[in-house]
């Protein structure tokens, strides 16, 4: 059998070959999630757009698709927030500063921060770790604040201990040019804020549906109810963008796992304009 390396005879890039990145910073964020800051060993930028994901490899354990949480406006590094949910993410939770991981990507579609959202009011609705990919867009928008109208952020967590990016949330709350509201499903004794599901925050919100682009990301069950509330606000499906999670293996539209009917979440998504998937029964 002839076994050779990629560049000898067959031309072209190996779409499955990760490059190395080094963990620059790692710290627990909640009891479930860890925050990581990484940089490619090549010194290059990852080159992602807000909402895209990368395949993170832990050699010997495997690969998992992880949303990129930092804004591309932050150069030299990229940040991830990873929930301990499976084999690969468990291994990611064991990483220390200086450790190496494999990276492929960035993959998939992105939130239209430069296209549809530019010049418009923007509304971000995030449930739980749905905030992780959306934070990339939020920080992009806040970095280029002058290019957008009103900026509103709604965040819902199961319980106060599962709130993510609490430092940044405090900053968003303080800003005059950002409307921020949050809720938890199950309060603890110290919680004085809203209680209940995230949909309850929508009726109180004041926005012009014709001039607002809304981004929705959260657990699978959330989308339908959030969109129903947005419809009550006379929001058009063309103005709603959803980021959908699916099982992804290859990230390049081959392995078949992430299909949503005929669409590939890894290539046609994860970010979809809602009006493009209203006739796709497996989407929401």
């Amino acid at each position: 059998m002839t076994v050779m390396t990629a560049h000898q005879k067959i031309s072209g890039k190996d779409i499955y070959l990760p490059e190395l990145a080094t963990v620059r910073e790692v710290r627990p964020m909640t009891h479930l999630e860890v925050f990581l800051e990484l940089a490619l060993d090549s010194g290059k930028e990852l080159g992602h757009k807000p909402g895209q994901f990368a395949e993170i490899s832990i050699p010997g354990i495997g690969e998992a698709p992880i949303s990129i949480s930092s804004s591309p406006t932050q150069s030299g590094i990229f940040q991830l927030v990873v929930r301990n949910a499976g084999n690969v993410t468990r291994a990611i939770h064991g990483l220390k500063k200086g450790d190496k991981v494999g990276i492929r990507g960035p993959f998939g579609t992105s939130f239209p921060v430069e296209e549809a959202m530019s010049g418009k009011d923007v509304l971000f609705i995030c449930g739980g770790i749905g905030l992780v990919p959306v934070r990339s867009a939020i920080n992009y928008v806040l970095h280029n604040r002058q290019n957008y109208g009103d900026v509103s952020i709604l965040f819902g967590a199961k319980q106060p201990a599962e709130r993510l990016f609490t430092d940044e949330i405090e900053e968003w709350k303080k800003r005059e040019d950002v409307y921020f509201a949050e809720t938890v499903d199950r309060p603890d004794e110290n919680w004085t804020g809203n209680v209940g599901v995230i949909t309850r925050l929508i009726p109180k919100l004041k926005f012009n549906p014709l001039n607002t682009i809304c981004v929705v990301c959260g657990p699978p069950v959330m989308y339908k109810y959030v969109i129903l509330e947005l419809w009550w606000k006379r929001m058009s499906n063309d103005n709603i963008y959803v980021s959908l999670e699916r099982r992804m293996k290859c990230g390049v539209g081959k392995c078949g796992h992430c299909q949503i009917n005929g669409l590939y979440a890894c290539q046609d998504g994860p970010v979809f304009k809602f009006s493009d998937v209203t006739e796709v029964p497996e989407a929401i």
Partner: protein, 342 residues
């Protein structure tokens, strides 16, 4: 390019000559059925086979295939396997399937692992001599094929016509230069055989036109048949594994004994298996058996054609034979969906 005529003895000599020079994979008997396997002698080659248990895709997309090796801390390296192989006796429907995989693995993001194996393979196709119990290639337009092979063999009377279609095919047939060319008469006989195959490789009769299937499937998403058939499904994935156009795979890692180096490999997967769409945290995006069953038919009959313009079913009938619950007959499904819709 030319068409040569060989008798059985000349064919055997040619095959044995090839075996001496390189790896030749051909159809061999396996119990009372047939399978592709490496040939050690022309006497093993059974061009009179009806259908093989597994399609020849395993030579381009092996059941288990190393993609990368890794060394902790120093990173990953591609494993590209490029071994020169002659694939002998591929039926027209399987040739169509290979041509589909060629497109699917090269479009959008090219898969060089597939490409390396594919480019190193010479395909010697062969017109069908015996109909298998469940073949319906005649209804799918795949009983005969005009492109996508390097050489095509057709048995006429007791001789073989060797139709050389590509440069790769010419390289392989250098030794046949002195043999007689096929006559017009031979070509007429060949055409009659093909006409008969188009007519007879129909153990199941598809009623809707092939080109109508994507539309039909789009209109029957909530048909009761999905639930009805899926109720009997064991989610065993046999239909996926024997399908010449199924190509879904899982990717896994394995450590070597040193626990610091290892390999990343892909392994065949199937959309009918219960956890095909399950993510970490145990949420299954296609938990319902009927939804998985329907997905497979939609993928073949709607999603693949929307992507590449050709139905993802070639009518080999392997799924019908492999299904232990007897629910995997695509013709039965399509005919039933078309009832009252024709």
């Amino acid at each position: 390019m030319s068409i040569k005529k060989l008798d059985q003895a000349a064919l055997d000599r040619w095959v044995d000559g090839l075996i001496e020079k390189q790896k030749v994979v051909g159809v061999k008997a396996k119990g009372d059925r047939f399978a592709f396997g490496e040939l050690t002698s022309s006497s093993e080659l059974r061009l009179d086979y009806d259908v093989t248990i597994l399609p020849p895709k395993k030579f381009f997309l092996p059941q288990v295939e190393d993609l990368l090796t890794f060394q902790k801390d120093t990173g990953f390296e591609s494993v590209i396997t490029q071994e020169s192989v002659v694939l002998f006796g591929v039926h027209p429907y399987d040739t169509f399937a290979i041509n589909q995989l060629d497109i699917l693995f090269s479009e959008n993001n090219e898969d060089i692992h597939y490409k390396a194996r594919r480019e190193a393979t010479t395909i010697v196709a062969c017109d069908v001599q015996a109909a298998s119990e469940n073949v319906f290639a005649g209804c799918m337009g795949t009983a005969t094929v005009d492109s996508g092979y390097d050489i095509m063999l057709t048995k006429i009377n007791d001789e073989y016509l060797v139709d050389i279609n590509t440069e790769k095919g010419e390289v392989l047939t250098h030794d046949l230069i002195d043999l007689p060319d096929a006559t017009d008469n031979d070509l007429e006989t060949r055409e009659r055989i093909r006409e008969s195959n188009r007519k007879n490789l129909r153990k199941h009769e598809l009623r809707p036109a092939v080109g109508y299937l994507p539309k039909l499937l789009g209109e029957t998403y909530d048909h009761e048949l999905w639930e009805e058939k899926a109720k009997l499904c064991f989610s065993c994935g046999s239909c996926n594994l024997v399908c010449p156009t199924c190509y879904c795979f899982d990717v896994q890692d394995d450590f070597n004994w040193d626990m610091s180096s290892g390999r990343r490999f892909r392994i065949w997967d199937g959309c009918m298996l219960a956890n095909f769409a399950t993510v970490a945290g145990n949420h299954n995006f296609r938990d319902d058996k009927a939804a998985r069953y329907r997905h497979r038919y939609l993928r073949k009959g709607k999603y693949i054609p929307e992507k590449i313009g050709q139905i993802g079913c070639v009518g080999c009938g392997r799924c019908i034979t492999a299904c232990v619950a007897n629910i995997a007959n695509p013709v039965e499904v399509y005919n039933r969906l078309a009832e009252g819709n024709e």
